[in-house]
Subunit: 277 residues, 2 copies
């Protein structure tokens, strides 16, 4: 129950309608007796820089969760950039230090890699294809690189995003082999859709699924439904997979730690949420 003493975590993005975090976090805060609430705040790109600075001037702000389309643009608005955010070129969590500095970090990739591990897969030595090189895709690429992937193929319709991500990866992980210019999944151990394709029924598949090896593991960032057309097609080929919400749940303990809250387990977060998949 929200009171005058309640501190806010601003969940900023647009459109807000598909946000899942408020339900998950708020139920956990309530169970834990923590007087904090996550509130969705729909901010358009032209309004975001002013709103972001302004919301952090509130006396009862506890932090911000940043989501599409602001994960990249927020980077120029923070004072201290975490290591994963630096490689990803994107940031999805911001807190204010006592001295007023805004510290940002990126947990999408960490969530993805933790989810992979929970499914019994290892990133070590893997050949991965990451389709979509915006905020989420960059974060996943950064986490895969950190966790020991051997080759990363990056693809995005926006070639500039791909090239910038490849350059950052080569700088921070000189032994990683990075490929750009193709979205062919053949030969990959790991194929990740980090585009919004699958949000709408009319979307094409993000990749030619018939060229994914049945032994490959596929991952998805779209959370609007459990099994997207991409996951359904890959599952039909025999691929193991991870749904979008898995990545969300897996990263929440890392977020909570970043914001200074007590430890949380993924199982506990899932059990207390009203998301059934």
């Amino acid at each position: 129950m929200i009171r005058g003493t309640t501190r806010l975590i601003a969940h900023i993005g647009v459109a807000t309608e598909t946000f899942k975090s408020p339900q998950i976090y708020n139920r956990w805060f309530e169970r834990m007796g923590i007087d904090v609430v996550v509130a969705p705040m729909g901010s358009k790109p032209e309004h975001f820089p002013t709103f972001f600075k302004s919301v952090f001037e509130l006396t009862n702000i506890a932090g911000a969760l940043i989501t599409m389309p602001h994960k990249v643009s927020v980077m120029s608005l923070i004072d201290v950039i975490g290591s994963q955010a630096l490689v990803a070129g994107a940031c999805n969590a911001v807190r204010r230090e006592a001295d007023g500095r805004l510290v940002g970090e990126m947990f999408d990739g960490e969530g993805f890699v933790r989810g992979l591990r929970r499914k019994g897969r290892s990133v070590q030595g893997a050949h991965a294809l990451v389709i979509g090189n915006g905020g989420v895709g960059s974060a996943i690429a950064a986490a895969l690189a950190k966790d020991g992937a051997e080759e990363l193929t990056l693809f995005d319709p926006n070639a500039a995003a791909t090239n910038a991500l490849a350059a950052r990866l080569r700088q921070h992980f000189p032994r990683l082999r990075t490929w750009v210019g193709t979205c062919d999944p053949s030969g990959c151990d790991l194929v990740v859709n980090a585009t919004p394709l699958g949000m709408s029924d009319k979307d094409p598949l993000p990749v030619d699924v018939s060229r994914i090896a049945p032994t490959a593991f596929v991952g998805e960032v779209v959370m609007k439904r459990e099994i997207t057309p991409f996951l359904a097609a890959a599952r039909e080929r025999g691929c193991a997979y991870m749904v979008g919400v898995d990545m969300l749940f897996e990263q929440i303990p890392a977020y909570l730690d970043f914001f200074g809250f007590p430890p949380a387990s993924v199982d506990d977060l899932r059990a207390g949420s009203n998301i059934s998949y």
Copy 2:
């Protein structure tokens, strides 16, 4: 439960800790199945103009409740000023119209007068003393004038606030007799504390209670406790009284109507709240 689809009512003021509205409104919204939440937002005066404009650019903003110390300064930030706000020179509720204009109105005075009526008192022909001529006190004075008070005595340590309020009252209610320069309650039918005195145990009484007639009715805006030292002293003299929270509950149906929500009764709002007085 807050979801991605939830719209926000920003409750803006500082400090937020004593806010009561979030608990009252949110329980009512929940019972009514209305997907809206009131969230406290602590904004300091130097940050308020930017934050206020910015929060109304959110795609899911449903309105704002404005409280101390912003009720007067918000007047220069809105596009359309309601009639009570115009006389009060202060505003405590703002909504955004479809065309983007911000419309503000003041309900504190309406809440006070409704509360008086519920206690069986009439404003018609009354001689009233309003101590504290900031946002709330101005609103109460405006509502008393509208409801037919015969004489109003205004007092505030800030004489400029008193004089400005007196000028607006004389302009809008030329038949009302308005006095300034004294806080002597003798001869008054109605004595209202609209200062923050009573928030702290160390505060002096806002007025010399020994000069209040036992037949007078006293009102209080401080909501931090049910019976403030001022109310306790007046009650001891035999005065009938109204506590601060009464004014809050009485004005909520008017607010809800202003924001476009279904009708609510004060009894229903009280019964559903966790405020026991």
